[in-house]
């Protein structure tokens, strides 16, 4: 998730500024760190004893975001979940840079759930104090915080060496984790100095490096810290947690959204060997067994009667019909209006009118939702790939009847999330805590959602319907009117009071054409249908659909104008230099100015979009054979500010392209009479290796801006770039996702 209007507050300070962490701020951090982590650091008058060597003060230098151990390892305490996006590499890189550490000594561990210390600073402008990973904000909000953390630790190591060696701190150099004084020839490792560094006063100010001197940040060859564990089966995910006496649980949930348990008969389930308990929880009925297989078998025999009086019983066919009516109706909220779009469109000679359909989409992370809970009278421990620790802690506490501070959250690597593990009501965490409570804490319990639970479980990218009318007026200016029809993600959640302004949910309509192009006459409006299907942010959120209709329509306008699609876009990007820069780079690397051999179903298309503070442009080359679309090559240019770990940036662009192509070619959740039609990967198809483009090239726009989003922005341009390429190849307009070329050909005639 991401909230466009907080962008201005996240990391726009410029990388070159020598931001300083004041002593006051540092004390605030350290005081809150608690549990002995930092107390030694702050005790007054605890400087090293005169004449004492490093060994006399052996111990760690422990601070909220970095810990240097006597064994010379440097551990970065990561407040964000690693779900593949690379924070376990990128955040340590920031610390290592300012610390002048060597990469080999870097380690990483998850922070406990603790606000305000580990809150996501990107949400401060909203007044939200939340520890969460979302909106592609992890690097952006940690940038200055972790640079300061690294620089502070470095300064304390230097101060310790200066004191022990009796030399001026200014004469001490640090390189590759060695602290050295050339005059006396003395040197020491971080590990040797850590204990005495911990007794140094915390510097009132630290100076950050000139980005021109960075050697770790921006290093093309920096290996991921988690690659080995993830290539040997050793990486621990929540599903791998094994506690003594632990039981496995699955939950039977209502077959329709909004249903409730009326009654249930557990007789047969309890007779299944291995089943130990069957308990009702607020969201369904849990079957608990000695292993997953027995729990699943038990659930298959469970008989539940559901109260569906408040359940959603419509199917997507009916919903789309209602959405279409709303798209043509008068009732809507104005999102943005400039000039007079109606008048401009009325007088235009040639108009483009188009309607777009976007289905519900499941996130389908490879690790299905899983969490482990261990409950004792005064404590509840949770293990999960938590994406929203603050909410998870509160939800678990509420479920078991403890205070949030009595719930400890162990954030493990998440086997993908794409937004799914951050739910305002912490659905699966709440479930596992409820099961622990209902079974009296007799044993630790691990809840696993099966793939069927995941695909049918809701929290989808909202179904959307867009209606657009656009034209180029006599003066050459573009006029555009767009109605967006789609459920709100935020309304009804605790985020609504903070983020929904004048009734408009920015996660429904952000990234629109009025924001991203220079348009003279524009009117964007939104209708919010009331539907009982739970929806959620899905990798790149509203940009998944807003970028598509925008970039397809702009392309069609270019065609009307008889202009090249890149040149036409550039003519509308005068006030958007970063868009223009990324677009030019992608076009140049793709050889856009050279003739492209069409025929034999070949075509190429382009799209550009800003999301999460970053701009991504992509050129897609496709081959259409019959009704099959094959994407041969994608050239991607990204402006994400300073690329902290360029290889991770490239990986995330590849990932966004693949995840976006999955939705473009296959992704679709439908409902019939309120029942989800798909259940597993045979019906909810996702991109496989044979559909991944053979060639993906990623180019990073050189930048001195602070880092912006990377995990999501690679996704929005791919579907429209491919649709535009298919239109170039075949003349067929793809306006419904996932692409169905046969149906679109039919619609064309």
């Amino acid at each position: 998730m991401y909230f466009r209007h907080i962008e201005a507050a996240t990391g726009k300070g410029g990388a070159g500024s020598s931001a300083e962490l004041t002593r006051r701020q540092f004390l605030k951090f350290t005081t809150l760190a608690g549990s002995g982590l930092t107390l030694g650091l702050l005790l007054p008058g605890c400087g090293p004893r005169p004449g004492a060597g490093a060994s006399a003060a052996a111990g760690p230098l422990a601070m909220p975001f970095v810990r240097i151990a006597p064994d010379n390892t440097v551990t970065v305490i990561c407040k964000h979940v690693e779900a593949g996006q690379g924070v376990w590499t990128g955040l340590p890189a920031i610390v290592a840079e300012e610390l002048d550490a060597s990469w080999e000594q870097m380690r990483v561990e998850s922070a406990p759930a603790q606000v305000p210390l580990y809150r996501n600073l990107a949400f401060d402008p909203l007044g939200a104090t939340a520890q969460l990973t979302g909106g592609s904000t992890a690097t952006a909000n940690s940038w200055q915080q972790l640079r300061a953390a690294g620089a502070t630790a470095r300064a304390m190591l230097v101060a310790a060496a200066a004191t022990e060696w009796g030399v001026p701190a200014g004469e001490i150099k640090v390189s590759q984790s060695v602290v050295a004084h050339s005059g006396t020839g003395r040197k020491a490792t971080f590990g040797e100095l850590a204990g005495s560094a911990a007794k140094q006063p915390v510097p009132a100010r630290v100076k950050l490096k000139d980005p021109g001197t960075f050697s770790i940040i921006g290093n093309e060859k920096l290996p991921r810290l988690d690659a080995r564990a993830k290539s040997t089966g050793k990486q621990q995910f929540a599903i791998d947690v094994m506690l003594p006496g632990m039981m496995s649980a699955v939950v039977m949930r209502p077959p329709r959204f909004g249903g409730k348990v009326s009654s249930f008969d557990a007789t047969r389930a309890k007779a299944v060997p291995g089943v130990v308990d069957v308990v009702q929880i607020p969201r369904g009925v849990a079957v608990v067994a000695r292993d997953m297989w027995s729990a699943k078998k038990g659930r298959e025999t469970l008989s539940v009667t559901w109260d569906e009086s408040a359940a959603e019983k419509r199917g997507t066919t009916e919903l789309l019909k209602e959405y279409r009516t709303l798209a043509h109706g008068k009732e809507a909220l104005t999102v943005i209006q400039a000039g007079d779009a109606d008048a401009a469109l009325a007088h235009a000679a040639r108009r483009v009118e188009a309607e777009f359909e976007f289905p519900y989409l499941a996130h389908a992370p490879m690790e299905p939702l899983t969490a482990v809970a261990r409950l004792s009278p005064h404590k509840c421990e949770i293990w999960a790939g938590c994406q929203f620790q603050t909410a998870d802690q509160a939800a678990a506490a509420a479920a078991v009847g403890l205070k949030p501070e009595q719930v400890s959250i162990n954030t493990l690597a998440a086997g993908g999330t794409f937004g799914r593990r951050a739910t305002p009501d912490s659905d699966y965490i709440s479930e596992v805590a409820s099961i622990a409570k209902a079974t009296g804490g007799k044993y630790p319990v691990r809840l696993i959602w099966t793939r069927e639970d995941d695909i049918t479980g809701g929290r989808y990218r909202p179904l959307n319907y867009h209606r657009i009318t656009a034209a180029i007026g006599k003066d050459g200016k573009v006029a555009l009117r767009q109605r967006v029809v789609g459920q709100s993600i935020l309304i009804g959640t605790p985020f609504a009071p903070l983020m929904v302004k004048n009734g408009i949910d920015p996660t429904a309509v952000g990234g629109n054409a009025a924001e991203q192009y220079d348009l003279a006459d524009v009117h964007i409006s939104w209708s919010q249908p009331q539907v009982g299907v739970p929806v959620l942010w899905w990798r790149s959120v509203e940009n998944t659909h807003m970028a598509f209709s925008k970039e397809v329509i702009i392309d069609e306008l270019a065609q009307i104008a008889g202009k090249d699609p890149v040149e036409f876009r550039l003519s509308l990007l005068g006030k958007h230099p970063r868009h223009a820069g990324a677009l030019r780079l992608a076009a140049a690397q793709a050889g856009w100015d050279r003739p492209f051999a069409t025929g034999k179903g070949r075509g190429r298309g382009v799209a550009v979009h800003e999301s999460f503070g970053s701009v991504v442009a992509q050129v897609a080359e496709v081959t259409v054979s019959g009704n099959k679309i094959r994407v041969d090559r994608v050239v991607c240019a990204v402006d994400c500010g300073i690329a902290v770990t360029p290889d991770v940036v490239r990986a995330q662009m590849q990932s966004g392209i693949g995840y976006g192509l999955s939705a473009a070619l296959y992704g679709k959740i439908t409902l019939t009479d309120g029942h989800v039609d798909q259940s597993n990967f045979h019906q909810y198809q996702v991109l496989r290796i044979n559909d991944m483009p053979r060639q993906i090239e990623v180019y990073i726009v050189p930048s001195t801006n602070s880092p912006s989003g990377v995990g999501e922005p690679g996704l929005p341009p791919i579907a429209p770039a491919v649709a535009n390429a298919v239109r170039a190849a075949t003349g067929v307009r793809l306006r419904t996702l996932p692409f169905d070329l046969a149906a679109a050909r039919g619609a064309k005639t």
């Binding site: 290539s231 292993d291 299905p368 999330t417 990986a651 990967f681 991109l687 993906i696």
Partner: protein
């Protein structure tokens, strides 16, 4: 019922349902958690293990069917192809979330054992049963090619 399983060269006797998929026996009863659950229907490949050297989806293979056969999981992967694949996986930073990668590596190791010089099309065909939602597919292709080259050069894998 007592089931005798030989996993990574070690034979264990387990008192479990003979219909239990090998996946859950390995994970819940042998505590070998490198093999992952992804779909339960042999649709995603996260649970891939080797049975007598052949890549097999453990989520649909009942334990009764593998008695007397050699099961290898990611923890026990030690063939030259397996080590080369793991080395190139680490060297090229293939994993993102990493959850599917045990299955990817087991499939890739079996592919290289059968076909030491696969083309892109061979790779796509052999690996199409393994889903990666992070879409690390471009690097998976590169890593398999790199491991193949390393094996054909007779070189020792850098790591593994």
């Amino acid at each position: 019922m007592s089931i005798k399983l030989t996993v990574n060269g070690e034979t264990r006797e387990l008192d479990i349902d003979p219909d239990m998929p090998l996946l859950w026996a390995i994970r819940d009863h042998l505590q070998l958690t490198g093999t992952k659950f992804g779909c339960g229907m042999a649709l995603c490949g996260a649970c891939t293990v080797h049975i007598d050297g052949k890549a097999t989806r453990s989520c649909v293979t009942p334990v009764s069917a593998v008695q007397g056969r050699q099961v290898t999981t990611i923890e026990g992967l030690s063939t030259p192809a397996g080590r080369a694949v793991q080395g190139s996986w680490i060297g090229l930073d293939v994993p993102q979330c990493g959850y599917c990668q045990s299955g990817q590596i087991m499939s890739a190791a079996a592919l290289l054992a059968a076909n030491p010089g696969p083309s892109d099309a061979d790779i796509d065909s052999a690996m199409a049963g393994n889903i990666c939602r992070c879409a690390t597919y471009v690097r998976i292709r590169s890593a398999i090619h790199q491991a193949a080259q390393q094996l054909s050069a007779g070189g020792r894998p850098a790591q593994g």
